[in-house]
Symmetry: C2
Subunit: 275 residues, 2 copies
């Protein structure tokens, strides 16, 4: 790269760091990239750090020493996140979303990449200190959430399938009972999709009793994986505590009331905002 003026270097470093979350970049690499002294690079990083932290973009951690460098950790500010989640809650409360059986239509919201980015940043923020190797979700609606989170955490995504596809090779399948419908269902994961003993973050769009997520936990056991965390966009608060199959999870929103007669839906911020 040709030598840049400081102003241009700040722009370049900003876009370079944003594109490489959770990646250690050595000061030497930066100094060579920009043909600049490490002291100038350090000054630039201090400016970027201040702006990122003030704007709620994330944190910039500098590691000293020969093996040192800088690492960008995307974060959300709780106040900004709460504002975004409140906006999502208001949208979810629109009476038109109510479907037969008390289901809530949320496919349109899942279809907005910008919204998925916001939500992914929240999950990435919530799990930024956890040791995780891979993010696991089950098709279909959990996929955009899992990718948005994975992008901010710089991790790969593994998608559990509802059926066994020929394009996946040999697979492990399990049956599970969906807690809400009580129906027996199947999920499967290709043998080669997940290394043994991986540390896994499970991400999904909706959790009622937790049967689907418990199914994933059981399936992951076949891969001797360890579940390091569970994150759901919306949990249903209509389930009694004792009926819930899973108690340790992060939810961003909580469906507290669905009245089919009056078509009244109440959605509140989830347990992520209670800590």
């Amino acid at each position: 790269m040709k030598k840049l003026k400081r102003s241009a270097r700040l722009v370049e470093m900003t876009q370079y760091l944003l594109a490489r979350p959770h990646t250690l970049i050595s000061l030497t690499a930066f100094a060579e990239r920009y043909q600049s002294a490490k002291s100038s690079i350090s000054e630039d990083l201090a400016i970027i750090k201040e702006v990122f932290e003030e704007q709620g973009v994330g944190e910039l951690h500098t590691l000293a020493g020969a093996a040192g460098g800088v690492r960008f950790t995307p974060k959300c500010r709780k106040d900004q996140a709460l504002e975004q989640i409140n906006a999502i809650c208001r949208q979810l409360e629109e009476p038109d979303r109510l479907l037969p059986g008390g289901y809530l239509y949320m496919t349109d919201l899942i279809g907005e990449p910008g919204l998925m980015q916001e939500v992914g940043r929240m999950f990435a923020s919530a799990f930024s200190d956890s040791r995780i190797d891979v993010i696991v979700t089950v098709e279909t609606k959990g996929i955009p959430l899992a990718y948005a989170t994975a992008q901010f955490l710089n991790l790969p995504v593994v998608v559990v399938r509802r059926d066994h596809k020929v394009t996946e090779g040999s697979a492990v399948s399990i049956n599970y009972v969906s807690g809400s419908s009580k129906r027996i269902q199947t999920m499967s994961l290709a043998r080669r999709a997940l290394k043994e003993e991986s540390r896994v973050l499970i991400i999904d769009d909706f959790m009622k009793a937790g049967g689907t997520i418990q199914g994933m936990v059981d399936l992951l056991r076949e891969f001797r994986a360890e579940v390091a965390g569970v994150g759901v966009l919306v949990e249903s608060g209509e389930v009694e505590y004792e009926e819930r199959l899973l108690h340790d999870y992060v939810s961003l929103a909580r469906l507290t009331e669905v009245d089919l007669r009056t078509r009244r839906i109440t959605v509140q911020p989830g347990n992520y905002f209670q800590s």
Copy 2:
């Protein structure tokens, strides 16, 4: 926002623009946000524009006049894109990927959000001048590609389902014949998922004869949608031109040879790189 020094303002504007692709931001909004004169903002934008264009991040278009402003259009440089695609081609040629029936295992590559971002940027670059309202894909492996593209184009995503889900409300279903397996399959799309007469970009991971994409085209006709473009990550070159159901598409890679006996796979850059 408190008044920032120029250096901090450049960092903030860079992250602000990167997070808002294909969005017109008025100079007045910037001037108010940073409590700075429009002339200073214009100078900053000129610096950002030069860095973005030189690094292949994208283009910054300034629209003059009272209703004017600036718009960031993510782009990839063809030389950088070709380098990335060549790396993907080499990975796809690993003999281990060959599955029974001549299928190619590519789920691991689809599982890398960073790679999906690169590919999404290429599609966004290829279709940046097309008038598009929404990106459509079919579950499951096309979803990450569709979202990565949609993020750079600032568009919503609609996912066609293989089955009809109760959580989607009333839906339109069609049967189609997958060109390669000759099996009759079903796909469906919720009535409320897509506005009538939308202009659609179809994105998918793999295309053989094009039966699945032709199925999407037929399904979209039920919504009176117009297909403004088709993008596939890998096309199979093992199909004769006359057998192909679809001729107008952008492919990023092309599977030219699969030899089951010698396990030799050959993958080359797609038609996107021939223009």
